[in-house]
């Protein structure tokens, strides 16, 4: 059995074990209502984590995703607000937010790819700079009073009439994004290049791959995904707050990536894995709630699960060499 397959089976096994355990602990866990709730909660983590997956596959990391989300959401909301919050204005806001995220990612990626500064440092700087910029941009005052239309994605549901039970609109966006990322990773030259860069960047360069361009693009996609995550949170909250996602969302995203089994040293992993990772973390907290574990205890548990997953991957996913 190939190590990839072993590792994929390990992830499936862990997911199944969680599923079984959670169902026993909390009979309500597998109900549609609960799962809908979980999937709605993890939307932003999945978006940020999926973008980050591309960066992590190259052997890098993007610690600035939560700050990027806040800055992009504030920029988009201010643009939409200035244009009067009509439907055209909302479209403008979305474009401005996504463009902001992509631009921020492009700048960070360029510093990594062209100047050779370690990604950890570049995006650690980005984490503070962009958060500060979000506050400066709106003078610390959240852009509130979103019209109802702007809250649809975050709170709304689709297919209500078809299914009896409805699907959160955010889930549709998130799943589409993950699926698109997975297809890009598996079926495009760009995806192939990301794996090669993370697996051996010098080999990728000597094989004639556009290493710098693709590195920059990976950070740009991560910025774009972070902006989408920021919009999702803002839509749900009905306001774009510079404090948005300040409670360590970037770390949740890293955790989802790692728990999914994407290697932090690059070259191994996938977008779907990150989705599963985010779902596991997102499921764990409500179950712990049900057990009466308070939030600090939950932090301890989540951290230990991440560590356990890393250990499991280390021993299951590696072949002998």
């Amino acid at each position: 059995m190939s190590p990839q397959r072993r590792s994929a089976l390990a992830l499936a096994g862990v997911a199944f074990a969680f599923l079984a355990t959670f169902s026993i602990i909390d009979p309500a866990f597998l109900t549609v209502a609960n799962q809908r709730n979980v999937l709605q909660q993890i939307g932003a983590t999945v978006l940020l984590g999926t973008g980050m997956t591309l960066v992590v596959l190259t052997g890098g990391i993007d610690l600035a995703v939560a700050s990027t989300a806040a800055l992009s959401a504030v920029a988009g909301a201010m643009a939409a607000s200035a244009a009067g919050f009509g439907s055209g204005a909302l479209a403008l806001g979305v474009v401005v937010a996504l463009a902001t995220g992509a631009a921020v990612g492009t700048v960070q990626g360029s510093i990594v790819a062209l100047a050779g500064v370690p990604p950890f440092l570049v995006t650690l700087a980005g984490l503070t700079v962009l958060r500060g910029a979000a506050f400066l941009l709106c003078d610390g005052v959240p852009v509130a009073n979103f019209p109802e239309a702007a809250r649809g994605i975050g709170r709304g549901f689709v297919l209500e009439s078809w299914l009896g039970s409805s699907i959160p609109a955010s889930l549709v966006v998130v799943v589409a994004f993950v699926a698109a990322a997975e297809i890009v990773l598996r079926r495009t030259a760009f995806g192939r290049s990301l794996y090669a860069i993370g697996g051996n960047s010098e080999a990728a360069r000597l094989a004639g791959l556009p290493v710098r361009r693709d590195l920059i693009a990976a950070y740009a996609v991560s910025g774009l995904a972070a902006a989408a995550g920021g919009l999702l949170v803002a839509s749900r909250q009905g306001s774009a707050d510079p404090k948005l996602a300040r409670e360590g969302l970037e770390l949740d995203a890293v955790a989802a990536v790692v728990l999914g089994g994407t290697s932090l040293s690059g070259g191994r992993g996938s977008a779907i894995r990150t989705f599963v990772g985010a779902w596991l973390i997102g499921s764990l907290r409500p179950v712990l709630n049900h057990l009466g574990v308070e939030s600090y205890g939950q932090d301890v548990a989540v951290g230990l699960v991440i560590l356990a997953a890393a250990l499991l991957d280390r021993f299951m996913g590696r072949g002998r060499d």
């Binding site: 190939s2 190590p3 990839q4 079926r187 697996g199 051996n200």
Partner: protein
Amino acid sequence: MNDAGPALLAVRDLTKSFPSVRALDGVSFDVRAGEVHALVGENGAGKSTLLKILAGALAPDSGTVALEGRPLRGGSPAARRRAGIAMVYQELPLVPEMTVVENVLLGNEPGGFFVRPDLRRRRVAELLAELGVRLPLDAPVRILGAGERQLVEIAKALAVNAKVLLLDEPSASLGPSDFERLAAIVRRLASRGAGVVYISHRIEEIFRVADRVTVLRDGRTVSTDAAGSVDRAIVIERMVGRSLSEEYPAIDWEPGEPILAVEGFGRGAAFDGVAFTMRRGEILGVAGLVGAGRSDVAMALSGARPAGRGRVRLRGEDVAIRSPAEALRLGIGLLTEDRRALGLVPDRPVRENATLAAISRFSSFGWLDLGRERSLAKEALDALRLRAPSIESRVADLSGGNQQKVLLARLWLRRPEVLVVDEPTRGVDVGARAEIYARLVEIARAGAAILLISSDLPEVLGLSHRVLVMKRGRVAGLLERSAATPDAVMRLAA
């Protein structure tokens, strides 16, 4: 030398299985004090597994290893070193930024807790004197050549007063004169009473350094003989289990018109004023000692480390080669000498590794046609008789020879007109070598020009139309096939 000497190291009936393969299936041999004992076998014969067991990095399933009559059980590599068995690794795990002194004493500092500079220098100077070599003690290891690093590595083994030295492919990155030095040192260590286990793919070497030869095949010991009582052909036959009639394919065609001309080529202090021309269908060999600048020329010509000076004319037009991507677009491709660092993407499947430089052949607007990729990869790998469980296997799990085939497939799938192949058979077993030679010859016969750089002199002489000899970064001479004898090459190179 002492024929009836007692066994210093006794290996009995070792077996070791991995989930998918039985790596060792009853290996026994003795190493006597004062002898150089060569261990030969094709890749996959079990040499690496055996060495790891001897060095304490792996535990055998059954069988025993005894040092001076005392069985060794379990234990880590560090414990084995203390017991007196030291491994000199093929991949030279030195710390590049640390000095010669620091590297030699790494993990074995003299004195107590605090570093004693005077003591350390004296100790390392003594060790190097024992080896009969001089090295800059305070130079960082990164500035040393491959041959010198090897010496640091051996000194490191001496620092623990090793009774048994395990040398894994010590000559893999050495040229002929570096090898002479190594051979002298190995003989010297043995004459001082050490037992040396010497592994090499270069059979000629075995007869130069070893007292006895043990052949491994498919995880078993086939034979142990005094080196004087067997010859090269017998050893090879035992290794592969069949006789190899023709080692090098015939070079019996005439090259066509010139395709590439290089003049005044140079970069920094690495090489300078290099000039040569290559013709379509020509195999131009490049010989020289390690450090003569051969690989630097290869890296420059393929854009990996662009040249600073000189003129390159390709198909009659001046070209500037500033990156590997640009070189490949122009039709110049590199097979790197450093498979692991510069070639393989170890975690990815064979298929992706093989097609990495030719993605445009099975994609349009960035979308991959995986079916076409699979058939391209299969075709290229079948032509090289790749032996792998599947093209979806992780490339890191293949033997060195098969990994090299994957990289040659990668290069050729790109269809370059000029192939720069640097040490194409380093660490490659005899059977895979023959297949790589056959493929290179087919490629040249079909009209591509090949610059063949190799430290294996018989290989260069056996495959080249002409041989360019380099010395200290410059061209020392150019020999026609008929004039290219080992003597003539060495006179120019040394």
